[in-house]
């Protein structure tokens, strides 16, 4: 991604991997030979801190450590909902639309790198606060249950972990990373199987990846 963006100013890209079994996921990254740090977040700490409820999501942080775009789907769109669920293939026009959405997002990122605060994609503080959905009390309890379940799982107590992981799902049903992580712990690949697509179908007309308004209204 760094090579694609070709920053005119320093840009640090820091993907964080939300896998309770993160060291397995790390092998994907090793194969990709990235030139930027890939951080393993087995406890979903960054998701909690930045209120990320899905993957991929991204946050833009300026040179002063200020958030200039809050957590949002990073160029992801709902085209995957039409894919063939056995082969994971999708129609060419749907795939093309996905590529366009990703390019639009990277173009916006490139604009910010080049123009800094003058970029039309830098949101005002009021816009950012309006887009942030602060965690509810239920979300805080969901996090506590998830973190305890994750600790138990990673210390060899899978059966003991299960009720806490399920409670996290129940308390924050809109947090897809709790839902999918729990499925994956039950069975590798389950997070992309019928349970997942059943939950996506249950959204009906609601989006899985809410559309993102890229440009700031003030510019």
């Amino acid at each position: 991604m760094r090579d694609y963006i070709r920053p005119a100013q320093p840009l640090q890209i820091a993907p964080e991997i939300l896998d309770v079994m993160g060291w397995n996921a790390a092998e994907y990254e090793r194969a990709a030979a990235p030139t930027y740090p890939n951080l393993i977040d087995e406890q979903h700490i960054v998701a909690e801190l930045y209120n990320m409820n899905n993957v991929p999501m991204s946050v833009w942080i300026d040179e002063h450590g200020r958030i200039v775009r809050p957590a949002e789907p990073a160029g992801a769109s709902d085209g995957f909902r039409t894919m063939d669920r056995a082969t994971f293939k999708m129609a060419k026009e749907v795939a093309d639309q996905g590529r366009i959405a990703r390019k639009r997002y990277v173009d916006a990122l490139r604009d910010w790198v080049a123009k800094g605060a003058a970029s039309e994609y830098v949101l005002s503080p009021d816009e950012i606060r309006a887009r942030i959905q602060p965690p509810s009390d239920h979300d805080a309890m969901a996090t506590a249950n998830f973190r305890l379940g994750q600790w138990l799982f990673s210390h060899g107590h899978a059966d003991a972990a299960r009720p806490y992981l399920l409670k996290a799902r129940a308390l924050s049903p809109e947090c897809w990373h709790y839902f999918r992580q729990t499925l994956e712990l039950e069975e590798v690949g389950k997070a992309s199987g019928p349970d997942f697509f059943g939950a996506v179908d249950a959204l009906g007309s609601r989006p899985y990846y809410p559309p993102v308004e890229l440009k700031s209204a003030r510019k």
């Binding site: 640090q12 999501m57 991204s58 305890l148």
Partner: protein
């Protein structure tokens, strides 16, 4: 019975722990090591911040043997708490108000995580650069 205490991002063993329902009594040494909070005459303190113990409820928090009830303190601070009694593991999260206020301040909260080679990286290491923080997962 010793307990594992996960307080925010830090996990530690408390040998002095004694659990009774949602109450977890600790020695003051274990309190400091597990949480960074210290009992002082003016309250329970961490750095410059002190949380007074409600005078009429002191026995809920401190016993004559100087053990301290971390469960009661977490309830006072409205921290989410979950515990597994069979494994003697307690998790103490951040109070929702504190998390909400942190998010709405728009200051990017710092964190430290290992990279795929085990080297620790903090967000604050990259101050002076723009940062794209991007999450993904293998599932």
């Amino acid at each position: 019975m010793p307990a594992t205490i996960i307080f925010g991002d830090k996990a530690s063993q408390a040998r002095s722990a004694s659990a009774q329902g949602d109450n977890l009594w600790l020695s003051l040494d274990d309190l400091r090591q597990a949480t960074g909070w210290v009992l002082k005459p003016e309250g329970v303190c961490q750095g410059d911040l002190c949380v007074p113990i409600p005078p009429r409820r002191r026995e809920e928090f401190v016993r004559p043997d100087n053990s301290f009830n971390l469960g009661a303190f977490a309830r006072l601070r409205e921290q989410p708490v979950v515990h597994d009694d069979a494994q003697a593991v307690w998790f103490f999260g951040e109070a929702p108000d504190a998390r909400r206020n942190g998010l709405l301040s728009l200051e990017a909260p710092d964190f430290t995580l290992p990279d795929i080679d085990g080297n620790a990286h903090s967000l604050s290491d990259y101050r002076g650069k723009k940062v794209l923080l991007l999450s993904w997962a293998s599932w």
